[in-house]
């Protein structure tokens, strides 16, 4: 019984065991499958990750570097890559009254002591204003654009409330150099006055602001021009000065200066009268500097064919007015002599012979009746004689006065472009402030024949060699040019004592490369100018000093063994030494 029951138990136990085993096997297989699936999944994930890493993430965030270095506002450079304006995270001096906690005094020392120390570091700071700000208990800028060494000195005061946040600001490393060309950027980041205003969309465009904008300006020439104009202005106690250096073959403005100027780094103070650009925005009656244009027009039209023809030099009475010369130059003068001595009378007679319409056409072709062609936003509109009849024809007296630069007021930039056309072979081109690729120089408009231009080069050179422009004769640079001293007009006529003295020149005259114009507004006769107020004594010496400084920089090598041939005209000059 026991045996039977035991065997039955064994039999049933075996059966159970088999079942258990079966179950366990199934479970195990399931688990193995699960694990295998897990492993396959992991392997697949790993493979996918490897593929992802290997294929797509080789160059992590390539744009980040460029983004970090992309300036918020594009850089402006001169033609040689010298930075004139750039976005610069400069230090500011910020007063944070909560730096030492809300309670108690924000400063370690007294506000007066701190203000005194700050004035020692920044001599132009206002002591009372600083004390008021430090006492006010409100956070405020004490100063912007602090130099690193100044920041170090302020840091050494040991005041935790004085902080130096770095802020992106517009910075002009060259200070006031070319300020009138560049303009300035205000607190809101908006450009004003010069190229900052013109180039605003380009400078802020994320796609293009990484590339600097190249201007046609040469910082070295600009500096030299500003120096010498400032010196001339100081010597003659003039109200202002203007100057321009223009490439005669391309119309690129190499330097443009208007003095007194302003400091664009102090944008809070920048907007004042000084932002006014005398070169492109102010119109002047430039006087005798127009005479070469009249003579060129007459030679071009075939009115003056023989330069030895003499014209009477006695005062002219026309339409109730009398045309005088500054001095009496004898009974008669020929055209070269008239230019050398700057005779209004003879120029007026030549213009009379030429006729109003022809002179007017020349002036219009030289752009004298419209705003100067340049990128600057502020461009002065010339005062162009409207003419005495409906067709706009000039009367005899208008023609005559225009011939020596009166009754017509233009900007110095107009004159520079006209002189470029006079000496470059007769082609007028618009002026530009952008550096031009040689292949993209504008074709220009022919105003004078090449032969007329060649003749004018001789005549302009003679004025400097023998005439009123002697003081501009920089040795070896073959300067040629014409003086112009015009009385300023005022209510009821011309003021005898306030002049605009201009010297318009080009060099080297055997193959002109650059036009240089220097203009002084209301110069006085001083010891430095031998008591004279006319252009030959104040504006011409400026050109005479500027040219040797800029010539070699601009690729004009002084050479005393070269010159323009004036031997065919020199016998026409009667100065006592010749025939």
């Amino acid at each position: 019984m026991n045996q039977l029951s035991a065997s039955a138990v064994i039999a049933s136990g075996r059966g159970q065991l088999a079942t258990v085993r079966q179950r366990s096997l199934v479970t195990a297989k399931k688990r193995v499958l699960l694990v295998a699936v897990g492993f396959v999944f992991l392997t697949l994930t790993a493979l996918v990750r490897i593929a992802q890493l290997g294929l797509f993430e080789q160059a992590p965030d390539r744009g980040s570097l460029a983004d970090a270095l992309l300036p918020p506002r594009g850089e402006i450079t001169d033609r040689n890559g010298v930075a004139l304006a750039r976005a610069f995270p400069s230090y500011s001096l910020w007063f944070n009254p909560k730096a030492l906690g809300a309670a108690g005094s924000p400063l370690v020392k007294t506000p007066e002591e701190v203000a005194h120390a700050l004035v020692q570091i920044f001599p132009d700071a206002d002591y009372k204003d600083l004390v008021a700000r430090l006492k006010s208990g409100r956070g405020s800028y004490l100063r912007k654009r602090v130099l690193p060494e100044e920041a170090n000195r302020v840091f050494a005061l040991g005041e935790p409330a004085l902080e130096f946040p770095r802020e992106n600001q517009r910075y002009y490393p060259q200070g006031s150099l070319a300020a009138n060309v560049l303009g300035y950027v205000d607190e809101e980041g908006k450009g004003h006055v010069g190229m900052e205003q013109v180039l605003e969309p380009r400078l802020l465009d994320p796609a293009r602001r990484g590339e600097p904008v190249e201007l046609s300006i040469d910082a070295r020439a600009q500096g030299a021009l500003e120096d010498e104009l400032a010196r001339g202005m100081a010597e003659t106690e003039a109200k202002g000065a203007a100057g321009i250096v223009l490439d005669v073959d391309s119309g690129e403005v190499i330097a443009m200066a208007s003095l007194p100027s302003f400091n664009p780094n102090r944008s809070d103070r920048a907007f004042n009268d000084l932002v006014f650009n005398r070169v492109s925005n102010q119109v002047y009656e430039l006087g005798s500097a127009f005479k070469p244009i009249t003579i060129a027009s007459a030679i071009d039209a075939g009115v003056v064919t023989d330069l030895s023809v003499r014209y009477p030099a006695t005062p002219l009475h026309i339409a109730g007015r009398t045309i005088h010369d500054s001095h009496a130059f004898g009974a008669s003068l020929n055209v070269p002599e008239a230019l050398i001595h700057s005779s209004n009378i003879v120029t007026a007679q030549v213009a009379d012979k030429l006729g109003g319409p022809a002179l007017r056409r020349t002036m219009i072709a030289l752009g004298m009746n419209r705003r100067p062609t340049i990128e600057l936003p502020a461009r002065g509109f010339p005062i162009f004689p409207r003419g005495e009849n409906n067709a706009g024809d000039w009367s005899r007296i208008t023609t005559m006065t225009v011939s020596y630069g009166h009754g017509i007021a233009v900007t110095p930039l107009h004159l520079a472009c006209a002189y470029a056309a006079l000496v470059n072979g007769g082609i007028w081109r618009p002026a530009t402030l952008f550096k031009l690729d040689p292949s993209r120089i504008p074709e220009g408009v022919r105003v004078f024949k090449a032969s007329t231009s060649a003749r004018l080069r001789q005549l302009l050179r003679m004025i400097v060699v023998d005439g009123t422009g002697r003081k501009a004769d920089a040795p070896g640079f073959r300067v040629g040019g014409k003086t112009g001293s015009a009385e300023k007009s005022a209510a009821g006529g011309y003021r005898k004592t306030s002049l605009v003295a201009t010297f318009a020149a080009a060099f080297p005259m055997d193959k002109p490369r650059y036009v240089v114009i220097a203009m002084l507004d209301e110069p006085h006769g001083t010891a430095a100018t031998s008591g004279q107020r006319t252009a030959g004594w104040n504006a011409a010496p400026i050109v005479g000093r500027v040219v040797p400084r800029i010539g070699p920089l601009l690729g004009v090598v002084p050479d005393a063994s070269r010159d323009v041939d004036i031997s065919d005209l020199s016998p026409l000059i009667g100065n006592g030494d010749g025939e």
């Binding site: 193995v32 492993f39 992991l42 392997t43 790993a46 990750r49 490897i50 890493l53 993430e57 992590p60 965030d61 980040s64 570097l65 970090a68 270095l69 010298v82 930075a83 750039r86 610069f88 995270p89 130099l147 690193p148 490393p173 060259q174 200070g175 006031s176 150099l177 910082a219 070295r220 600009q222 500096g223 120096d227 003679m462 060699v465 023998d466 040795p475 070896g476 640079f477 055997d510 193959k511 040797p548 010539g551 070699p552 090598v557 002084p558 050479d559 005393a560 063994s561 070269r562 010159d563 323009v564 041939d565 031997s567 020199s570 016998p571 000059i573 100065n575 030494d577 010749g578 025939e579």
Partner: protein, 299 residues
Amino acid sequence: MILSAQRLRSIGWLALLAVCGAAVMVLSFRVNALRSQVHRAEGQIVALKQQKMYLETEFETRANQQQLKAWNDLEFGYVAPTAGQYLENERQLAALSKPADPGAPAPIRVASVDDTVIAPAAFPELAGPELSGSTQAKGLARAENGAVRKLAETHEAEPVSHGADARDADLGPGRPRALDHAQETATLAEKLGTIRPAAARKDEAHKDQAHKDQAHKDQAHKDQAHASEKTAAKKVHPAPRDERGEKRAHPAPAHAATVEKAHPKPSRESARPTKDEKKDARSGGEHKSARKAGVKTNR
């Protein structure tokens, strides 16, 4: 046995998977590490570039044009180089070594004379194989007729005609204008050495004055010997006002008289007679005629 083989196989798979997993992990770590390194390096580059920009800007600010001018005015006093400090080409360099002829004016190349035009015009006779009378005669004829326009338009060609004029004045109206061989050579020699800075020429003019006596001795024109001996006698015991010229003087080689005479070229420098020239003219030397030619075109 079978079981163990199976187990071994599964252990093998396990180990392989573990290795793979570890490799993936290592790879991920390394990739991440490298990425963070790249990122850090990138950050450093940006920081350095910015720092460079700050320093550059600070440097430009401190060395800006106005600042440099202030330093120059105060400290250095540099001025722009003058014409005499430039040498344009090898010809100018060579011309420096050539002694100036007595009383020679500073040569001026007029208008925009292109060297490429001058060189063939001035040199062909020297370069050609036949340096004979026929070529010279041809060159002479050209100069006389002004047929070579390119050359005749410049001062380079002028000494020929002016020189002839001067001689005419000296030697009487009956004398033919043609130049003899020596004179032609002198004209050519002058053509070769015309380019030199005016300043140098002026200095050398002093030299030449001081040593005129030497030059005069060598003169071919004996008919003027009398006058030049007078001059020489004066120069041997220099007058006080000639001291400056004497001090500067260096021994100058003797010049052929023809070279001396071929220079009455009118130019601005020559047109204004110097003190020495005036003196010489008073003494009745051959410069009288030279000066006459110069004054003719003076302005």
